[in-house]
């Protein structure tokens, strides 16, 4: 697929603008911080196996980010259908006997012992560009996507979301919903349709609740948010320990590798979904707030990229990516601090996990691609 022509210039990038250096810098800083925190969270368990795996994921993710950032959006669009179909196939495979059940949900595919990936993470990468395709195809001189276009886009989104609902993975579903909502919002779809859509989503959610489609453990996680004392042995324990770890960090933290709650492994899943508690305990308010600020600045740059995007496709793509990363960050940090229900979503760039790390970095690569793509010269 990769062919080199001329002097170190890829053929599919005929005219690229300069990359957004701050965006790259923030992605690097967050990934690096993530490595340190993963190291801290796993070092007492003995061995550096997890740290090495995460470092490999970050390295691979950065390479992919660099590659993707050099792809012209028009070239990218050519590969969107293929990526979308592959993502759907992988999501379907997860539900087959190939899938592995973790924490009550089928979400993994094991390629070989020790080599596994989470199709839902990669599906985010596939859906964001695919979803933007119909929304950005404005024909007949219309300035806004029409009803039919919106329906087509939603149909594209419904397939992966439906497959994820079957796993079931509530958190990822919510991230997908946020991504779709953000993309729809910036696509310029009429307000009344957006309202109808949100009303419909709310009705569907209520129906799912009434019909008992929400699993007991999902209900439990939602209830814990309302009543922290409920289920002290299970999810409630997790929530309480996460808050203790973060709270005990104070203003300046206990210092990297000095977190005693972290060393004692009191917070379950600390190196993955609860990595933010390591930051809270060891780096304190100063460090944890800095991480949140870094993500915020990254998102802000992403929205600026959307604003200045050369094509409607770039706007919708960037809007979807920013909504995904922003909502996932809010969900993750919020659940460790008792603001959001405990649903398993990782902190972008920071949490341990190959698929999520690669997906986050490639998303940044996509934002760079939007940024660097020049307007079409007629």
């Amino acid at each position: 697929m990769i062919a080199v022509a001329g002097k170190r210039r890829l053929v599919w990038a005929p005219a690229l603008g300069p990359p957004d250096r701050l965006l790259t810098l923030l992605a690097l800083a967050l990934s690096g911080t993530g490595l340190l925190l993963v190291w801290s969270a796993t070092r007492m368990a003995g061995g550096h196996a997890l740290l090495v795996r995460q470092a490999v994921a970050v390295g691979g993710g950065l390479v992919l980010m660099w590659l993707v950032s050099r792809v012209d959006l028009r070239v990218l669009r050519a590969y969107v259908p293929l990526a979308y179909v592959l993502a759907l196939a992988a999501l379907a495979a997860v539900l087959s006997p190939l899938g592995v059940r973790v924490n009550g949900a089928h979400s993994w595919i094991v390629l070989a012992p020790g080599v596994q990936f989470q199709p839902s993470e990669l599906a985010k990468l596939a859906l964001a560009p695919a979803f933007a395709v119909p929304l950005a195809e404005l024909r007949d001189g219309r300035r806004r996507p029409g009803f039919g276009v919106v329906l087509l886009a939603l149909a594209l989104a419904a397939a992966p979301i439906g497959l994820i609902a079957l796993q079931p993975d509530l958190g990822t579903m919510m991230v997908f919903a946020a991504m779709v909502s953000g993309a729809l919002l910036v696509s310029g779809a009429p307000k009344r349709w957006l309202l109808v859509l949100f009303a419909g989503a709310a009705a569907a959610g209520a129906a799912a609740w009434r019909l008992g489609l929400v699993r007991p453990y999902q209900l439990e996680r939602l209830l814990v948010l309302v009543r922290p004392g409920a289920d002290p042995g299970g999810v409630g324990y997790n929530a309480a320990q996460a808050r203790i770890a973060i709270g005990s960090g104070g203003l300046s933290g206990k210092g990297l590798f000095n977190g005693e709650q972290t060393a004692g492994h009191f917070v379950p899943e600390q190196h993955t979904d609860f990595i933010f508690t390591v930051a809270g305990e060891e780096l304190g308010f100063a460090g944890a707030a800095l991480i949140l600020l870094a993500v915020f600045v990254l998102l802000w740059r992403g929205l600026s990229i959307a604003r200045h995007a050369a094509s409607p496709y770039g706007v919708v793509l960037a809007g979807g990516l920013v909504s995904w990363l922003g909502f996932q960050t809010f969900m993750n940090a919020g659940m460790t601090m008792g603001l959001m229900p405990i649903v398993g979503v990782p902190l972008p760039f920071v949490s341990y996990g190959g698929s999520a790390t690669v997906a986050g970095l490639v998303a940044v690569g996509l934002l760079q691609a939007v940024h660097r793509s020049k307007p079409v010269q007629p």
Partner: protein
């Protein structure tokens, strides 16, 4: 394309950031201190380190109570909990090695909680739980060498109390339960002996495994208590008391040896006694009830009989009755409508007060009491209280009895308290009693008491004067009164403790018996009493018991006492002192018969033992 829509996303992102930062500030800065404490609760476990308890030594430094170590099998509850079967297999194997059922061990190591019944472990789950204390060395070795079979099980030496002198002074020494002194010196000097527990704060991980030691505070060993007890004199007193009781002295008794001039306790023996090593392995509730825990020397109360006459004679002297004057000692003296008789109805003829003490004439004291009573004088009671009776001596031992000095007020109070029952008996009699004559006698007595029982009469006064009729003393009270007679009139609050010494040897404090008063008797009266009592073992009532005694080497003076006890054999007393060595020796045998027969020979044995010790030196 709408730029307004992008602005919406910017606003949403800003709102989310503000929410997260606000929450982060609330958790870490506003409530940070509370979470730091909560984190420590989760992470830090304190394991107490017991201190070594101080020794109790005799006056020459011989250990009366000391420590040794014994292999104790302990179980780490956390390690057991991490076994796949919760430690069941380990405890079963351990039970086989120790010869105990699994259930018994499981009960000892389960942690107490709201739904866990007793027995259970009340201490820290991170503290090794002792499950067997009396383990033989081969079994201990077997367990420590097969660690793979016994994960979490350890054998470690633990300090236990040792009593080199066995039963001797068991009550005085007291005992320790749960690292706390519960009786005797162990309780009275618990703060000195206990030392201070140290502790180790350890960090644990989420599985309870200890990851590191945060802080270690070593225990401070307890101080040593040096007592004024002389182990050799104690042994002599124990032997004399034991032999006297064995040859018909009854079931209980006591022997007290004081240093007359200082009020220090040299020996305190009491029977029945027990071997204090029973506490080492723990005592069941049933065994506990069967233990004779009462220290007869300080908690036993008996009527003093004629040993009481020193107070009556002092009262007479103070009331103006000449000590050298001649009094008649008829066989009986009538008070009211009742005749009070001498012991065995003896007619001893005219004699001085000196003779009244030496030959123990009762009728002289009956007349004295009757006359004082008629005058409305309470000189007898006042003098008795002045001799320290009727209130605890304040000795440094717990649970001391006060004795009793009855008077008009106390008799009235007692009558008021029992009047209803007495008057019911006067109406209904004693139909449940088989002995008709005795029932009739008691009914008649109840009838009298119901009407006028609360009045202090001449008969009460007469009985009081000879140490009967409700008078009660403890052996220690009598000993300190006689010590005061011997030392010129100073009444001490006796002390067993001599000094408290640090393990390193520096003295923390010296304990001095406080002076609680002076005897209400002039020097002349005291001289007279010493002289009269000096004759008792030579020519008086105790002459038989002291026949052939080397008075030239120890000038023992004393007084016999025989107290009637309703329905039982008489209580036998001998209270004595000598100028050199300046000891006071008091012996009481609950059913020893006449003082001259039971207690006096026992006291003689003690004096001879003391003499032997002195001459060996």
């Amino acid at each position: 394309m709408s730029r307004g829509r992008l602005l919406v996303l910017r606003l949403v992102a800003t709102a989310m950031l503000a929410t997260l930062l606000g929450r982060l500030w609330f958790l870490q800065v506003v409530n940070g201190a509370a979470y730091v404490r909560a984190a420590a609760d989760v992470r830090v476990r304190s394991v107490p380190l017991p201190p070594t308890r101080g020794q109790i030594l005799d006056v020459t430094g011989r250990p009366l109570v000391t420590n040794t170590t014994r292999p104790v099998v302990t179980v780490d509850a956390m390690a057991l909990a991490h076994q796949p079967d919760g430690g069941r297999a380990v405890l079963t194997r351990l039970g086989e090695a120790l010869g105990r059922p699994y259930r018994q061990l499981a009960e000892k190591v389960r942690l107490c909680g709201p739904s866990v019944p007793q027995p259970c472990w009340q201490g820290s789950p991170y503290e090794p739980i002792p499950v067997a204390r009396d383990v033989s060395v081969p079994v201990a070795l077997q367990i420590s060498e097969r660690q793979q079979d016994f994960p979490g099980v350890r054998t470690e030496p633990r300090p236990i109390r040792v009593y080199p002198y066995g039963r001797a002074a068991a009550h005085t020494l007291g005992y320790v339960q749960g690292a706390k002194g519960r009786d005797g010196l162990e309780a009275a000097y618990d703060r000195d002996l206990a030392g201070r527990a140290g502790r180790t704060d350890v960090a644990v991980d989420n599985t309870g495994r200890v990851t590191r030691t945060i802080r270690q505070e070593p225990p401070v060993p307890g101080d040593t208590l040096v007592t004024s007890i002389d182990a050799r004199v104690q042994a002599i007193a124990e032997q004399a008391l034991g032999e006297a009781l064995a040859s018909g002295g009854g079931s209980s008794g006591a022997a007290v040896v004081l240093e007359s001039a200082t009020g220090r306790v040299v020996a305190l023996a009491g029977r029945p006694a027990y071997d204090p090593s029973v506490w080492t392995d723990g005592v069941t509730a049933r065994e506990y009830r069967a233990l004779p825990l009462l220290s007869q020397a300080v908690q036993g109360e008996w009527a003093p009989g004629s040993t009481w006459k020193v107070t009556s004679a002092a009262a007479a002297a103070a009331a103006g009755y000449g000590l050298g004057a001649t009094y008649d000692c008829p066989p009986g003296y009538t008070v009211g409508d009742r005749v009070f008789r001498n012991f065995a109805g003896a007619d001893l003829g005219p004699m001085t007060m000196h003779g009244a003490l030496v030959r123990s004439c009762d009728t002289i004291f009956y007349r004295l009491a009757d006359r004082l009573w008629r005058r409305g004088s309470d000189a007898l009671q006042r003098t008795a209280r002045g001799f320290g009776f009727g209130r605890p001596t304040g000795v440094d031992l717990p649970g001391e009895a006060a004795g009793a000095v009855p008077d008009a007020a106390s008799k009235r109070a007692q009558w008021r308290a029992t009047r209803a029952e007495i008057c019911r008996r006067s109406r209904e009699g004693y139909p449940e009693m088989g002995d008709r004559a005795r029932a009739a006698y008691l009914t008649e007595l109840a009838r009298e008491n119901c009407r006028g029982g609360g009045v202090w009469r001449g008969g009460d006064a007469a009985n009081f004067a000879i140490g009967q009729g409700g008078v009660l003393v403890t052996p220690l009270q009598l000993a300190r009164a006689y010590a005061a007679v011997a030392n010129g009139g100073t009444l001490y609050s006796p002390r067993v403790g001599l000094k408290v010494v640090r393990p390193g040897g520096t003295t923390v404090r010296t304990i001095t018996p406080p002076v609680t008063g002076r005897l209400p008797a002039s020097d002349a009266t005291l001289r007279f009493l010493r002289q009269a009592l000096g004759q008792v073992p030579r020519t008086g009532t105790a002459a038989g018991a002291f026949k052939g005694f080397p008075f030239g080497r120890i000038a023992v003076a004393g007084k016999t006492g025989t107290a009637e006890s309703f329905g039982r054999r008489d209580t036998s007393w001998f209270a004595s002192f000598a100028p050199d060595p300046g000891y006071t020796v008091v012996v009481v045998l609950s059913e020893g018969g006449r003082g001259a027969e039971g207690a006096a020979p026992a006291a003689r044995a003690i004096w001879e033992g003391i003499l032997g010790l002195r001459e060996r030196r």
